[in-house]
């Protein structure tokens, strides 16, 4: 049952991405509006699919590649749609919807049979760790997406190339605000999530788990975003620089994630 809803969500996510793309091509907001509503449906079906899966498999769902990525896509859509209520950034979905689609495709690849929760992972710490870090990272992804669009729009206005694309894209202030809000909300969630992970690791694991590549990677990411938050809040960075920084941080995150996940041995894996 859960898989049917998941497949519907995946197809709808692709549709939503296409709608947004069309709106960029024909320079009409109407198509983007349709895309937004479809994205809302994606969220709806993902929620149902997730609910079914949780009932049947329990918390171990959050440790499989499918479960993790599906939840990640859910968090990105939910985060974006919530932020969109606050700002006039409908067209931002042209980057969000494809990201959601790609993540969902990744989830589709990782579909497997239900697995029982391994002994050491039982308890509420691990699911909490997963949910918090994923939500935090989802918001940071949205921050970077807003950053990308900020850079595009900034370039156009700076170079005085006011095209119909410029007219369609959201205003710089709105994009900066999205970047700001999602950083500010995402970072504490990520921090909390990592803390839960640390508490669990120190109580259950033995040996040099601090040197595990995935742990080091997490520390680097945390520091990077911490630096960005510091610059935003205390050095008064706004606009162009944080947009660029959050994009760079995200790229680094993505590259190192892939490297760690697929090239290095780690104890921190999907089950």
């Amino acid at each position: 049952m859960d898989m049917i809803f998941f497949k519907i969500a995946l197809v709808l996510a692709l549709f939503s991405a296409i709608c947004y793309l069309i709106s960029i091509l024909i320079k009409r907001v109407l198509a983007a509006k349709l895309g937004t509503w479809i994205l809302l449906l994606v969220l709806f079906f993902l929620t149902i699919s997730f609910g079914f899966r949780c009932v049947t498999t329990g918390a171990s769902n959050l440790l499989t590649q499918h479960g993790v990525l599906a939840f990640f896509a859910w968090a990105i859509s939910a985060g974006y749609l919530t932020l969109q209520l606050k700002t006039n950034t409908r067209v931002l979905g042209v980057l969000v919807a494809p990201v959601v689609s790609v993540v969902l495709m990744g989830a589709a690849i990782g579909v497997g049979a239900a697995v029982p929760m391994p002994g050491p992972l039982q308890g509420s710490l691990v699911p909490l760790h997963v949910i918090l870090t994923l939500t935090g990272e989802a918001l940071l992804v949205i921050a970077s997406i807003a950053g990308v669009m900020y850079l595009i729009q900034n370039e156009a206005i700076k170079k005085k190339r006011i095209t119909s694309l410029t007219r369609l894209l959201p205003s710089l202030s709105d994009l900066d605000r999205i970047n700001h809000i999602s950083l500010l909300a995402g970072f504490p969630l990520l921090t909390l999530g990592i803390l839960f992970g640390l508490v669990w690791a120190s109580s259950v694991l033995s040996g040099n788990w601090q040197l595990d590549p995935k742990f080091i990677w997490a520390a680097v990411v945390w520091l990077l975003y911490g630096a960005l938050i510091y610059q935003r809040l205390f050095l008064g960075w706004k606009g162009h620089r944080p947009a660029f920084f959050s994009l760079a941080a995200f790229c680094l995150l993505l590259v190192s994630y892939i490297a760690v996940e697929y090239l290095m041995p780690s104890i921190h894996r999907f089950i």
Partner: protein, 422 residues
């Protein structure tokens, strides 16, 4: 039914003539009354704006020309006949209707896509209908024109994108700040264009205007006019840190805002976005200021480029609008046909005969039982009843059509009997 449109616009008549005609009528008599007094005119509407003077008239049937209409229109122009011919255009029937649609949709305007003209047409229509100069045809036609204008505005981008420098500044500000509410403007120096831009920004919600001028007295004057705040010329760098949009237009020969001053301000404003609009020639702001992060510097040429670009865009949209007008003209043709007597009579007869045949069909069983001969008799009987019933209305219609009064009867017939042509 003959529709005639006589007029002149900004393309055919020079400004001096237009203003002479525009002014003279107001003082004199009502032009509409004078037009309605011309014998062939049945319905008329008189539109006069600074860019055009037009008369649309529906003539009594059988009439093709209106003697004296052109002369009436140009009565105050003091023109010789050859000049008059040059200024005035005459459109008939479909061309006249098409012209009306294009005018109402602002395709014929000096600034294509401006929305004022529709209001002016509506006003002209209101005046005409108040003085009972409009009837069946013009009422229908004008409402059709308003619908066309609305379609053109919503279905094409003809009214989108700024085509004035001051409005281009507003759209630019919106693309940077999102909305202008609670944004503050610094107006440096005074000039027509900069004041216009400031006024537009205020109109779109900007919060407060701060005015700096070398002569403080002038600054105070402007501050009063804009309900703003005048500041001392020396306070300029400090003010720069507080505002979001700066418009400069001084006559200074040198830069009044150096890149250093702007850089200092950017630091003080903690990187909040800053839009600098330099309308002055020679320029007031060091172009290097525009290179800085979070600072956007536009000069008069940049804004003009946006405007030129948008004008081209509107011209492209106008082609789409022409297609809409073509479509609507077809619709108008349909309606016009429905006003004709003969097609209506034919439809009415067809309806009666259709009903008869239907009933004959229904009773075919019984008809067969009475034999072929009787059956024919019955059909002849029914047909003659129909002919008798139709005789009076048809004759009356034809008579009224001779007296130009058939239209209301036609409409009533079509409505009562639900006749659908075409």
């Amino acid at each position: 039914m003959q529709i005639l449109l006589v007029g002149l616009n900004h393309k055919t008549a020079p400004l001096e003539l237009r203003e002479r005609l525009c002014l003279s009528w107001g003082r004199d008599t009502d032009p509409l009354v004078a037009i309605m007094n011309l014998p062939p005119v049945k319905e008329a509407i008189y539109l006069s704006t600074c860019n055009r003077i037009e008369v649309m008239a529906v003539l009594h049937s059988g009439q093709e020309e209106v003697a004296g209409l052109k002369e009436l229109l140009l009565a105050h122009g003091n023109l010789c006949p050859s000049e008059m011919e040059r200024c005035i255009y005459v459109h008939r029937d479909l061309a006249a209707v098409g012209h009306l649609f294009r005018v109402a949709s602002s395709l014929d305007s000096m600034i294509m896509g401006e929305t004022q003209i529709l209001g002016q047409v509506k006003e002209a229509y209101r005046r005409a209908s108040q003085s009972n100069a409009t009837g069946l045809v013009l009422n229908k036609l004008l409402h059709h024109a308003f619908r066309v204008a609305k379609r053109v505005r919503t279905e094409t981008g003809i009214a989108q994108n700024a085509v004035s420098v001051s409005y281009a500044a507003v759209t630019l500000a919106k693309k940077i700040f999102g909305y202008l509410k609670d944004k503050r403007i610094l107006l440096v120096g005074a000039g027509e264009m900069s004041e216009l831009a400031a006024r537009q920004l205020v109109k779109y919600g900007a919060d407060k205007i701060i005015i700096a001028n070398r002569t403080f007295g002038r600054a105070l004057e402007l501050a009063e006019e804009f309900h703003g705040e005048a500041i001392d010329w020396k306070m300029l760098p400090q003010a720069l840190a507080e505002v979001d949009i700066v418009i400069t237009s001084t006559g200074a020969a040198d830069y009044i805002l150096s890149a250093d001053t702007v850089a200092q301000a950017v630091r003080e404003r903690r990187n909040r976005l800053l839009l600098l609009i330099d309308i002055a020639v020679p320029r007031d702001i060091d172009p290097a200021a525009g290179e800085m992060e979070n600072v956007f510097l536009y000069n008069i040429d940049n804004l003009q480029d946006i405007v030129d670009d948008n004008v081209k865009r509107r011209e492209k949209e106008a082609q789409k609008a022409e297609l809409i007008i073509k479509e609507e003209l077809d619709r108008y043709l349909c309606w016009r046909d429905s006003l004709e007597v003969v097609p209506t009579i034919n439809l009415l007869r067809a309806k009666f005969e259709g009903t008869m045949n239907g009933e004959l069909q229904r009773y075919s069983h019984w008809l067969k039982s009475i034999g072929e001969e009787n059956q024919k008799q019955a059909e002849i009987l029914l047909l003659s009843v129909i002919n008798k019933l139709l005789h009076d209305p048809v004759t009356t219609l034809k008579e009224e059509s001779g007296n130009n009064g058939a239209a209301p009867y036609i409409l009533a017939l079509r409505r009562l009997f639900r006749l659908e042509g075409r």
